[in-house]
Amino acid sequence: MTALRRAHGLLGTPGLIGAAILTAVVGVAVYGFLLPEGAGHARVGTPYAPPGPGLPLGADDLGRDLFEQLVVGAGTSLSLGFLVAVATTVIAAVVGGAAGIGPRWMSATIMRGIDIMLILPELILFILAAAFLGQAFGIRVAILALILWPVPARVLRAAVLTAWSRGHLEVARAMGAPRWWLLVRHGSYLIGPLLIPVFVRTAMRAILYDATLSFLGLGDPTTPSWGTTLYWVQSNGVFLSEAWLWWALPPGAAITLTVLGLALIGIAVEERLNPALKEANSS
């Protein structure tokens, strides 16, 4: 009970709800990893079977278990979101840090580059790159990380600049410490916590974009995922029949819940880091 209260004090009600949702999705994903090989894309029932014993959510047009697709999809989505978020946060921290403390020409070049990247629509780039370079899991992660870094890099650069003007850093700088060492030794406790919301938001966007890509038929055909299930919904016109209840509703709700859980955690962490924001939100 005290643990719950402490968590509540740390994250607030929305953050706690988010954490609960995410924990549930992680639990489902772990269960999915324990399922035997081929779960969700082996033919187990009759095509278009409605929900019944052994098939909690029925089967799709090829007789594949929709419940298994849902469970395995949780693992696919979460691991992709996690990997993209790690890669993007690292790129954003390095680029944002360089733009914050590097020489002026470097900073100017990076910022203009970011401005240009921000005009190009992310999703369109992602679709084009995936269409040409392939749909394997690793390739999708790499493309997403290369497309998603500019916004977080800009956020982190602003954070570096704010930290840079703090008194103790100015003192240390006056003593002649090298810039990178200063940033890591004296600035990281100010900037480090900001990596959490950056990480969470990137994971959110990666999961949504990847689902969209799979929905457009550019997903990895060998792994079940929520977006791919919805691709078959679309190409079979499922929402014109009553099958949409067990076929279209669960994967979409799963995407929404996962992204919502991450969003709530992100907001909670941001408020925790920036009490002024919380005051503005509640007072």
């Binding site: 100017a108 203009r112 401005d115 240009i116 921000l118 005009i119 190009l120 629509p121 992310e122 999703l123 369109i124 780039l125 679709i127 084009l128 790159a129 269409a131 040409f132 370079l133 959110m204 949504l208 689902a211 969209t212 929905f215 457009l216 038929g217 550019l218 919805l230 919904v233 679309q234 929402f239 014109l240 949409w244 279209a248 994967p251 979409g252 995407i255 929404t256 992204v259 919502l260 969003a263 709530l264 907001i267 924001l277 503005a280 939100n281 509640s282 007072s283």
Partner: protein, 339 residues
Amino acid sequence: MVQTETPAPTERGRRSYGRYTAGRLAQYAAVLFIALTLNFALPRALPGGPLKLFGSPEALAQLTAEERAQIANQYGFGQPLHEQFFTYLGNVFSLDLGMSLSQRRPVMEVLGEALPWTLLLVGTSIVITALLGVTLGVIGALRRRKGKGSGLLGGAIVFDSLPQFWLGMLLIVLFSVQLRMLPTFGAVGPDGVVTIGAVAQHLVLPVTTLTLTGFGYLFLYTRSSLLTVLTSEPVQHAHARGVPYRQIVRRHALRPALLPVHTIIMMEIGFLAAGSIVVETVFAYPGLGRLTFNAISARDYPLMQGAFLVLTVMVVVMNAVADATYPLLDPRARAGGAR
């Protein structure tokens, strides 16, 4: 930033405005160049070269001699890379994007038919999203202590998490299949007759999908921007002078709070244009997005590249239009101070 030539001694404000515009133009030129380079490089980055694009050896063997010649001409096989690039640029600027492999017509012709529909869909969505997001954001900031404000905040966060394609499907299930109020597919009536009523009816659900998934970010940004201004010193000073609250909001808070929102609206343009690919697919709307999807399914790479290029140009042009209006709103940008 591109440094312009030393300007003729004119009015100071006018000169800086010119430099601001020149800088932005250079930026858009860079965006277009990158889009063109990506379009050029991606097919060549394929392991196995561009001919791999045309599928299996059997599919390749089925191509007619004319099509082979066209492909070879378009991709400039055998030439050095930089010459291929110049050939490519020359083709693009003479509006020759090759032949669509699935439709067996010039890509440009196919795109020309689809573009007006996408402009209609995305344009309508931008206007409604901007109005809705900003209005609700202002309400959310002013009513933050009350139920209405927190309800809006929760709603915005939930809508922000919905995948566009899934929301579109749910709207079809609810309004077209269950309630039979609105049409499911396409852009015009069943007999292909274009009437304003039919076009508007077919626009309702796609625009709703784009707006509902797009307004959340704008709402959150407007809300926090206005909240920041409301706690700023000039506004507190106005409070102390006894200016009525309504007047404070209208005269002292709204304008400075809404200026940065302008930038977010420009980012929404890209989001909505990309969203058109998804939404047009769900609603079988005959625009560029649907065309992109069909091109992906048919592995029709020339058409895919053309659609990508036109969508990007559309986003850049819309951004430039929105950008050109910014100095009219913000006197600091006219004076060259806002970077």
